[in-house]
Amino acid sequence: MGDMIKGNIAIAEAAVRAGIKLYAGYPITPSTEIMEYLSKRLPEVGASFVQAESELAGINMVMGAAACGVRALTASSGPGISLKQEGISCISDEELACVVINVVRYGNGLGTLYSAQCDYHRETRGGGNGDYRCIVLCPGSIQEAVDLMATAYELAEKYRIVTVMMTEGALGQMMEPCELPDFIEPKKHPWGFDGKYTYKKIGIFDRNSMDEAVELNKKHEAIKAEEQRWEEEGLEDADYVFVAFGLPGRSVQGAVKELRAEGHKVGFIRPITTWPFPEKAFENVNKDVKGLISVEANATGQLIDDVALTIKKVIKDRNVPTFCLPCVYGIPSMKFTKEGLHKIISGEIKEAY
């Protein structure tokens, strides 16, 4: 077991070890420790750190570095990630690879400083203008976040796509024991600029959107087929299956253990990728399941939409009820989840779909 380390610091060091050549960003709670740490650390390893004038500039600096085929990073939280959407959409359009960390905080507009998962829809649907997706990784522990950092770049580069590491305020701020990965020296990608025009490109007005759409769909299908990641338990005989990711996902695991000990046939799916959504996990769910329950840290329920759509694909002969337990912000206690199940069984909480 490794030393105790704060989530944001561990993620930042993991990014250094994944071989990033540039970080550009703007301070915002609860993500700021990432850039503070990198401001000192990156010059030590011969990489660049830029405190950008805005989130907008930060993501565009990342775009410039990504165009050169090297690993680049930016990190922020809710409203800062909103500003970055223009750049993320353009990076996606140019099929460049980079990683964006969203240490999610609760709220609309400026939001609050509470830990939350309220950016689920934005991250999993692309976020900016147009018709694209980002691969979204949702770690449930500091160790998992650290282990996913190199993976985040490998996926981004394999598919030439943006990977979003969606953590939560609490994960960034808390400490856990953590083993840090070894250093990687990534290769510069052949499609990166070298000044010699080795990799040919056509102008924006020469592009064919119809052909590109075919390629985009092929890419998305390949990602959906190959890159679903999740953790599951107790699905085969479950009356009720909980679906939760990140820290709520971890809390739900504990609740499921206790509920099982109390005699309830329950299981859980903890998506690690929320795009692609782990549809394959739902194929393992008991065909006679009485309901699926999302537990999520937002006000209105967002993950529930993907849960309902996915179970509809898997169990076609009837409508499986889906329920939502939104805790608004923070990390739901095991008690919250257990009481939620009882309210669902008693009929106090109605199905969402």
């Binding site: 410039g64 680049a72 070298d194 102008g203």
Partner: protein, 246 residues
């Protein structure tokens, strides 16, 4: 040694600018300077949005079509990870000075080591001639139909003068494409800017007063006349920040 080729290799491609437009002259000068400095095979362009977008199809070199106004931030990222490459941000006045003023001014503020060429034709060309921050007082555009009222829109922005007086940049100048004499001077400015970058001296900006006959609704010749008679008295030509080594 003299080169046999007439057109620099990186621009030997058709570009669809309007008749009488100044972009072509400026691109030719940049390409000639890059060739003469042996940087044309060590080159990345960060292209703005607008008529600058047409370079995306025209240039035969590494180039990225940047989000509107953000070319100076993109160029910053490029230069930081590949300082050995020559980076040129090519933008119009609307792109660089209106929507992109934050990115543009902050690159100058940090003295980032790249070169920006800003085409100032006093309006948004690609979208059909709207008012920009360099539109002249009283100038009629599609969004200042009664003529620009500086009381409510502010005064035309002089970017090279601004950065030369306020920031520690390497080189700042303004040229024009109105006569062989001015074109020759402009080429010297562009070359100086690129040399400053190659020597690691820091940020260089060259603004170019350039005609937009289509949106000005003037003939190409009268457009040149407008620059000479109306623009140059407000936007003086010359070097506002000399290189320290010169």
């Amino acid at each position: 040694m003299a080169k046999a080729r007439k057109v620099p290799a990186i621009i030997d491609n058709p570009m669809s600018f309007c008749p009488g437009c100044g972009h072509g002259i400026v691109i030719r000068l940049i390409a000639e300077c890059l060739e003469e400095l042996e940087q044309d095979q060590n080159l990345i362009f960060a292209l703005g949005v607008g008529c600058s977008s047409l370079l995306g199809g025209g240039l035969v070199t590494d180039r990225l079509h940047c989000p509107h106004g953000r070319a100076s931030a993109v160029a910053t990222g490029m230069k930081r990870v590949q300082p050995e490459n020559t980076i040129v941000a090519y933008q119009g006045d609307g792109d660089a000075y209106s929507i992109g003023i934050a990115e543009t001014i902050n690159a100058a503020y940090r003295n980032e080591n790249f070169t920006m060429v800003a085409i100032n034709n006093t309006n948004y060309g690609m979208t059909g001639g709207q008012m920009s921050w360099t539109t002249m007082p009283g100038q009629v555009t599609t969004t200042s139909p009664l003529g620009r009222d500086c009381e409510i829109t502010g005064n035309p922005l002089k970017f090279p003068e601004l950065v030369a007086s306020q920031f520690d940049v390497a080189f700042a100048a303004r040229g024009a494409v109105t006569s062989p004499k001015n074109i020759n001077k402009l080429k010297k400015y562009i070359k100086n800017g690129l040399e400053a970058q190659i020597n690691g001296e820091g940020y260089s900006v060259i603004e170019v007063l350039s005609p937009c006959p289509t949106n000005w609704k003037l003939s190409p010749l009268n457009s040149m006349k407008r620059i000479e008679e109306e623009l140059i008295p407000y936007y003086p030509l010359g070097v506002f920040k000399e290189r320290k080594e010169n």
